[in-house]
Symmetry: C2
Subunit: 553 residues, 2 copies
């Protein structure tokens, strides 16, 4: 036997931007290419990508990218990676490829991509020295797979995200038989999802949410809105099925919801008869009790459908007393206040708001401790490397491995950038390479053509623009107390006219929004950022960091 | 019968700064005077107070302040209120007064205060036209009480925060007998705690946490740290009891933990033998398995004991492999990421971290839906006004009232500033007065003498100071890439020397912290804010808004 080097480039010590490089005999296979969403302290950033330095410096070695499933934290950085590295082939299951295709098309990269569809159960395929196959797993998106890599250093099972749902909506169970068979043949190393390792017991079946919908929908006499991740095809399918049974028609609201439902329907992962589908602007022609609205914004994202609906800022959808809003998701840590704000706004408009805390309208896509133990028992790996999670989750997964009888020296708590060597079935951390974050700063949601990889070191080059505005109002912000102040650095001489224009635009944008009763600070910031960023880019082709500072007095 | 006007000045549509004015016959009694903690978008703010305008304009009418319990969101704004209005008397139970005394002393206001101790079961006392008595309730602090007010408009029960814990640690149960007796005599209006109205079932007894400690402590061979709110005396008592049984000595770490444990012990609410108490700096003389450390910082507050311990920045306490950290609290919405960051840091140091998600180490102090229903059934009020909570919680409480048979027109969903009139037992909203937020900006934690009520309209007067620093590092911030940039507005001419000094200080502070491996953005911001704010105040007696902007590249 030989050696395989495994280098996690994202997803360890964090939730998001999962990416792992497998390297042997001058070949690299990349499993997943995800992105993460910025934290509030990442000022002026829209997306966070893995640092591609390691791959960029070895791009001649890359034999392909293998994707476990279609979630953004596993496929979202692929277009950015393709801009920096030649990727000979992208391998994934059917729905994952469908989602990726649409993404690459938006980025104008589709023609350069060689996409190869592989299903669990297909014969293994070869990429360089790696013989690879997929194993079906259940998750909160259809067509998720674990990846089995026969490497020169030994057999590796890379689970991707999974739960062991014995009653998934599409009947596509986690293939415990295949995992056990691999365990019998011998697995040197398991890279396992750690997201819910701290939680005892098992995650409930996705079917539970459908049962909740079946309890809730029939008694409701107003509109029903369901906000969820647009990738949660089974969640949408269950809502649609119950909605149709209750005599409702369905509208998909929000860009990614429309896009993903189209892809899922075209590929046969979702069944919605054409005659029950409405465009958002046709909703007003229908009485509320015949409406089912599936929308984006379950995380309270500032410009998303649900947030705009909550703040009465949506062109097609309004909510009133008698309506029911179901938030079929859990806030990602850091998004709690935004989601709570939206819930409060919706409740204030008279709607009943159901969410994880008061109704069983969400289940996780990640297995809990007992499922992780089951995976360990099936695969019986010699060594375990917890992946996909913050440090505390990795540590909890390590503890489960310990309790399952894995030897202490074979439990690998690695970090992004760790080089893990698998030699003749033995595993250890041998080195450390560059890994970290790359920021993406776009101008508005979905505006991918205008997106820029922000090298934050360009800060001094492109400048900083800070807008300070003071808002007054007895109960929350209401009115501008004075014209906004602009503080600019690095705009050079002769920028006075531009700054005047920006000041006027900031003033105009804020006054318009406040007149429309849009007073949520984050929404105001977002609108300001996009409006001013657009003008600056238009006039100067530069992208200063734009920081809107709104002060309530 | 006559009329009583009830004016909530805080705590409705929000969690925090609870305050309600009762007004009749030219007299005002204020129930509670709480504060709130700022949200991240409240830049440069340390505390949030109710707007006292309404009371300030009628201060000759104020007959006294009645406090339900000693939590900051019910008593924290009292010193600030006393600076603006003459308060003839402050009425509360024994422990509440003990905590308030210490607070007023710090603010130099103790001599001006007339404090009157009243216990549940005492004869009613009179304040102006109001005849008032306390009813014992269980909560996450001892000596909590509901307030019953016989007003000219009818009898009102104001619950304060409560749960119906039938097995509280001190045996002081919510007095359901007294509440039922009030119900029998007739209650016109119930103002009830809504915090957990959305949650089904009942909140578990505080005793459950003690049982968890009893499960956890004996098997641990390293240090045990318990982080909780410093006011949660029963939580501390239970930890101390189990700790002593396991042969551990106890250290109280963190300013408010030391202060509150002293007050509680002096007043007999907590029993800890003198010989088991250690000072933090004596901990190093004891082997880890004999240490029990009770500390502040359960919310991940940047300068708190637990955060500093997690970041290896505490003078007396370190954590290592084999230690156990119990976070015996739930993150207040908005604090999740800070708490998660601290947990990850602690886990990285090798400690086992137990928290609400993986062990039963916390219960809420607020009753859930079934307890709220019990309260409604006992008190049988004619009308209900949900208080203490965000709008969604108030709406959920209103729904419980509806289901209990309260007539729709008698369910009052008020806002801060609503004037609710109670006339001959009939209730309606008749007016709206000024209510809102006042910000407090201090220089560092606990620095109350140096604290300033920030009238944010002084912004243009006192100026704005923005510090932009760029940090680099492969995995998270590591080093300053250049000297920090300062952007100042409103500092006037001739401030160049001061700005140079501030730039040097910012540079020094950041370099020192980074050298000590303190890289958490929020901690760096906090240190910068305090250091530069101190210098500016020292040189100019002004308090500009100071915004540290840290950019990771």
């Amino acid at each position: 036997m030989g050696t395989c080097r495994i280098i996690p480039l994202g997803g360890l010590g964090e939730v998001g931007k999962n990416m792992t490089a497998y390297e042997a005999e001058d070949s690299i296979v990349v499993v997943d290419a995800g992105l993460a969403f910025p934290r509030d302290e990442h000022l002026g950033v829209d997306l966070v990508l893995p640092d591609f330095t390691y791959l960029r410096e070895r791009q001649h070695m890359i034999r392909g990218v293998v994707l476990t499933h279609g979630h953004e934290d596993h496929v979202g950085s692929l277009p950015y990676l393709m801009r920096e590295c030649k990727i000979p082939v992208i391998v994934a299951t059917r729905l994952t490829l469908g989602l990726v295709k649409s993404k690459l098309d938006e980025h104008g990269l589709l023609r350069e991509a060689d996409l190869r569809e592989v299903s669990p159960g297909d014969e293994p395929f070869q990429l360089g020295p790696f013989r690879i196959e997929f194993v079906r797993v259940a998750h909160s998106i259809p067509d998720a797979a674990a990846v089995v890599l026969e490497t020169p250093g030994g057999r590796v099972v890379h689970t991707g995200d999974y739960k062991i749902d014995h009653t998934p909506v599409d009947g596509q169970r986690t293939d415990v038989g295949k995992l056990a068979e691999l365990g019998n043949r011998g697995v040197a190393l398991l890279l396992g999802d750690s997201t819910n390792a701290e939680r005892a017991g098992v995650t409930q079946s996705e079917r539970v949410v459908g049962e909740a919908f079946r309890q809730i929908f029939p008694s409701r006499t107003g509109r029903i809105l369901v906000a969820s991740f647009a990738s949660n095809v089974h969640r949408m399918q269950q809502a649609v099925d119950v909605g149709i049974d209750c005599g409702r028609k369905v509208a998909f609201v929000g860009r990614s919801m429309r896009k993903n439902s189209n892809i899922a329907r075209n590929l046969g992962y979702m069944e919605v008869p054409e005659n029950v589908i409405l465009r958002p602007n046709e909703l007003s022609e229908l009485p509320p009790h015949e409406q089912l609205i599936l929308c984006t914004g379950s995380q309270g994202e500032p410009m998303s459908a649900m947030t705009r609906i909550a703040y009465n800022d949506h062109p097609a959808v309004t909510v009133q007393a008698g309506d029911t809003v179901i938030i079929s998701a859990k806030p990602i840590p850091g998004n709690e206040l935004r989601v709570h704000d939206a819930i409060n706004r919706l409740a204030r408009s008279g709607a009943e708001v159901l969410h994880e805390d008061n109704a069983p309208v969400h289940v996780s896509g990640h297995g809990r401790a007992e499922e992780l133990r089951t995976m360990l028992a099936l695969v019986r790996p010699t060594a375990v490397m917890p992946v996909h999670g913050e440090y505390r989750m990795l540590a909890a997964h390590a503890q489960l491995a310990r309790e399952s009888g894995i030897a202490e020296e074979n439990i690998i708590l690695a970090e992004n950038g760790s080089v893990v060597e698998l030699t003749d079935g033995k595993v250890r951390i041998v080195d450390r390479v560059t890994a970290g974050m790359t920021f993406v700063d776009g101008l508005g949601v979905g505006d991918v053509h205008d997106v820029a990889l922000r090298d934050r070191r360009r800060l001094s080059e492109d400048g900083v623009l800070i807008i300070v505005a003071t808002l007054s109002g007895a109960n929350g912000p209401g009115a501008l107390t004075a014209a906004p102040e602009l503080i600019a650095r690095g705009f050079g001489d002769g920028a006075d006219a531009l700054l005047d224009e920006l000041r006027e635009e900031a003033d105009r944008v804020l006054r318009e929004l406040l007149a429309d009763d849009i007073t949520e600070i984050k929404l105001l910031q977002e609108h300001l950022h996009d409006a001013l960023g657009g003008i600056v880019y238009d006039r100067t082709r530069r992208r200063p960091m734009i920081l809107p500072v709104l002060v309530e007095v």
